[in-house]
Amino acid sequence: MFLLIGCASYPVQNGFEPKSDSPKKTSNPYFSNARKDYVYKAKIDAFNRSFGGIFIVKKLGAEHHRIAFTTEIGNTIFDFTFKGDDFRVNRILKDLDRKVLINILKRDFKALTQEHSPVKKNFVLNTENILQTDILSKKHYFYYNDEQLNKIVRVDRNKEKVEFTFTNIDNQFAKQIEIAHHNFKLHIALKAFK
């Protein structure tokens, strides 16, 4: 029985019901306003160390975001650009300049900010509508309640790997965001400045 569940697909494990009519694209409105500076106080727990900082997202155009992380006093820790399929490291502290870490952050922030992505499958679970899509070749499930996005889950080999939750939502602005990794110790908590 456990083996069967272990091998079952993520939608089956979670009792999702397939749905036929589906939107063509996912929609994530939380970093979609180019007139807004998205500024968050961040708390990062990584590999048994905890540190804080300021997390900043700016939409600069269609499919174009700049994402930076600074210390409270303002020194830049990292600064990335996402533009279409391109990804650029503008700056990263030498101590953190590791390919593995940059790839983790790239995957997380791409999933966090990508506004639209083609829908592969559509499901329902109770009151929630769930859209399956691929971001950087990994399966992602977007959970909507009343058309409001409140969770994104990255799934690999039928297992939940990363969970993005959006809470305290005010007019398409998620004031609290959490990114939790399940396969290693990395947890990012973001709280909006205002």
Partner: protein
């Protein structure tokens, strides 16, 4: 065209306003600041911090309080829009992030060690070390503006320059830390109180 004229106007204004000091004037400023720094035992001040990132529409503004006690106790406490404090004490950096406490051995980290020394020195206005910095002196009306360009290559990748503004009394009223990308943090001090008794309790972790 209007933009160019506007720009030229401001460049010429700033050229008039900001004038390089003569060597004699620079020595006089150093002496004034050092004399003043030597007479300081404690400093308390409010501060407003403006983080400028070129790609943002507005600077990120935060506010807080600073406490300093000789020889090297420093506490930065942000109060708005978040609660966060950093205490430099006995070669250790104690962090209180909205109730979550942690610490870091500054002694083992050269960057933080230098940052601490600079913060301490800049609060006291006593950072005129020609071995550590290339220093340039300017005057703007009654106040002085001094550029400190770190000589240490590793450190200059972190902070390209410190610009300190001193008022006519020789107190630091503004600090600007410029990153290699030209983004900067601009800190303005207000309500500065010098030599008021500060209990050690202010500096407990």
């Amino acid at each position: 065209m209007h933009k160019i004229l506007f720009l030229l106007f401001f460049i010429s204004i700033s050229a008039i306003a900001q004038k390089e000091m003569t060597p004699t004037e620079a020595v006089a400023l150093k002496t004034k600041v050092k004399t003043r720094a030597e007479a300081i035992s404690t400093v308390m001040s409010e501060f407003t911090q403006y983080k400028h990132l070129d790609f943002l529409s507005d600077d990120i503004v935060s506010q807080g309080k600073l406490a300093f006690k000789v020889p090297n106790l420093v506490k930065w406490e942000y109060t708005e829009p978040f609660a966060y404090s950093v205490l430099f004490k006995n070669e250790t950096l104690f962090i209180n992030d909205d109730g979550n406490k942690s610490n870091m051995d500054v002694g083992s980290n050269k960057i933080f060690k230098q940052l601490n020394q600079l913060i301490t020195a800049s609060i006291r206005g006593d950072m005129f070390d020609d071995n550590e910095f290339n220093i340039k002196y300017f005057k703007i009306n009654d106040s002085s503006l001094v550029y400190f360009l770190p000589k240490d290559e590793q450190f200059s990748k972190f902070i390209k320059a410190f610009h300190l503004t001193f008022n006519a009394n020789g107190d630091v009223i503004e600090v600007k830390m410029i990153e290699p990308s030209d983004d900067y943090t601009h800190i303005k001090f207000t309500d500065r109180v010098v030599n008021k008794t500060l209990s050690d309790a202010v500096f407990t972790e």
